[in-house]
Assembly symmetry: C2
Homo-oligomer: 354 residues x 2
DNA sequence: CTGAAAGCGCTTACAG
DNA sequence: CTGAAAGCGCTTACAG
């Protein structure tokens, strides 16, 4: 090893500068206590020799333990989706554990803002070095962000972009654009003049901003394309009512006989698929979001025609890695990170659903 | 650090076993020279304490330098595609360089088997620790593989699966399945009874196995689905002839007036798109492979309707990482690794073409 | 303000 | 067959 290998070590820099390795380390990390003159000299030599630190050695020698906290909704019947980002988070945790870094996962009840507040208060008590969280509750999230800014704790938004705050990164989908892609797929297939049902299924009367944007993108596509003159029927369905979504869907399909496609702007599309299957409406084009198990089943049955995926595992994984790169490796990280808008059909799902 | 931290070190194992760290290291790496009795004892204690090596320390201490060789076609006018796997390879190289591992890239002329043979002979002279290569030339590749088996050099297939040999992994697409996905997308759109043109464009009369499989998958889909009774017209076009593909396409479209879709089972689809645009045939559904620049442009113009992507960067990246995991980290690696079959349209390409 | 030394967990000759 | 010691490139008290 050493210079002859092309790899410059601190020792090499120190020697050339006529100082000790300790001094080089001090200027490397701006730890002060160095005469300006020698600092300059060392800096110059670092540049000149093209020194780059050996991350391996750095990590081994460092006593600092990095703790990252993750705050996401608890996966449940309405939102099995959140299992996926969690998987990614845990994979990242495994990958960075030899680098003195650990990840703590904290869950809150997705629909309950107070639960989120309680969890973030706990997290702050632990003094994490960095935080990844899902800011679905806007107001509470803004309060949280303010506290982290005061403590100079870096944070990453997952799934939803708060669009304010000093987050080092955001990982999620461009919701509006995904609606446009959905629209293209449907408009390709259905005849001119068809009716399209937009069914927003929610656990409790909570239709998030996300969902609204997907719908907006969807409708805008048709508005801006002159080759499909379709009519929309948009409804909200409250799944906490026992008889839903059957009741509402039956009514709609009874009243509108020219519905050629259903667009469900979230992961509850399997509930619509069940209805379509029971009522022999499989020929209706059905498109929804996310590769959760029941959706995959209806896709394979041919009831759901398209699913839009967004690689939630990757989002979880990359969120942690962003924190790690920022804090531990001190690499620059991109702030705005839109996931791919994956188009999934029966014929390609095998290679996504891993 | 140490036990109180939950992390067991070699030192801890040695102490409990009443031996030195050197001895533990010997049993850990099966380096022999250990009495069977002490070997057993150490093994037991390793299990009991749940020792796992610290990869960071391992890498820092190790003097062994790993050299990986990559052999891929040179990107050129006919195959700009190969830029993409190369990008992934270089990214992986960057990622593992602090782990005493370097990657050498060797290129051969894609269409020239002898060029491939020459390159692999050179590579063997360098005694690489592992090889990633594209076995498009079957016979030469089998010879190469045999030599590597003799030298016990592990190797990975990229893009094409030789389907024999002791490769530790393969990264590429399930070609037949991608043809099926393509067929589904087209059959969704075109009316019953349409004609479909399958245009196989090649640089020289070389239609690879790959391409044949894609075509097969495409046709089989229609055969097996009862709701689309379409006719196929399949042609080979030799792009090394100046007047092609115009000449052939003009003839076909002149003779067949009911062609509603063109399927191009490789990345040269942009040549067909150019023809469609010039001849005002944009309404013909056009589907091809790979996100190379000219294809992306015609997709954005609305001439190409779908592109099938396969994440070639990831394939390159993962090939190297497979070698690295196998040799350096001694992790198990999956042998058969099919890439995703990405469906790309104008509305989602922005998040793929990075 | 600066340097010498110990240590991170592992590997690698070397001595016996 | 086994152990003691040096070393990988860095960080971290500590002494001056």
């Amino acid at each position: 090893m050493g210079i002859e290998n092309g790899k410059i070590r601190i020792k090499d820099v120190a020697k050339k500068a006529g100082v000790s390795t300790g001094t080089v380390d001090r200027v490397l990390h701006n730890r002060g206590e160095v005469k300006e003159e020698t600092r300059k000299k060392v800096i110059d030599i670092i540049r000149e020799m093209g020194y780059t630190p050996n991350l391996i050695a750095k990590s081994l020698a460092s006593k600092k333990l990095y703790r990252f906290a993750v705050i996401i909704p608890d996966a449940n019947n309405y939102t099995p989706y959140w299992e996926k980002p969690l998987q990614g988070v845990l994979k990242a945790a495994e990958e960075i554990k030899d680098f003195n870094s650990i990840v703590d996962v904290h869950k809150f009840k997705g629909s309950d803002e107070n639960s989120f507040r309680k969890v973030y208060a706990e997290v702050l008590k632990c003094n994490p070095d960095g935080v990844v969280f899902n800011p679905k509750h806007k107001k509470a999230s803004l309060d949280f962000v303010k506290l982290m800014d005061e403590e100079r704790i870096p944070y990453v938004y997952l799934d939803v972009d708060l669009a304010s705050g000093n987050n080092i990164a955001f990982f999620g989908q461009n919701a509006r654009q995904s609606g446009q892609a959905a629209a293209r797929l449907i408009s390709n297939i259905i005849p001119n003049g068809s009716e399209i049902l937009i069914a927003k299924l929610a656990g409790k009367k909570l239709v998030s901003h996300h969902i609204t944007l997907r719908e907006k993108g969807f409708i805008d596509f048709f508005k801006n394309s002159n080759n499909c003159d379709c009519k929309f029927k948009s409804i909200d369905i409250d799944l906490s009512i026992n008889t839903e979504p059957s009741l509402s869907l039956k009514k709609i399909f009874g009243e509108h006989h020219n519905i050629k496609a259903v667009f469900v702007p979230n992961s509850r599309v399997y509930r619509v698929a069940a209805f379509l299957k029971e009522n022999n409406l499989q020929r209706t084009i059905c498109l929804g979001y996310d590769l959760i198990q029941p959706n995959v089943e209806y896709l394979n049955l041919g009831v759901i025609d398209f699913l839009i995926g967004q690689k939630p595992e990757d989002q979880g994984f990359n969120s942690i890695m962003a924190l790690f790169n920022h804090l531990v490796l001190q690499k620059k990280v991109n702030k705005l990170n839109y996931s791919q808008i994956d188009i999934i059909i029966k014929e390609n799902i095998a290679y996504y659903n891993l």
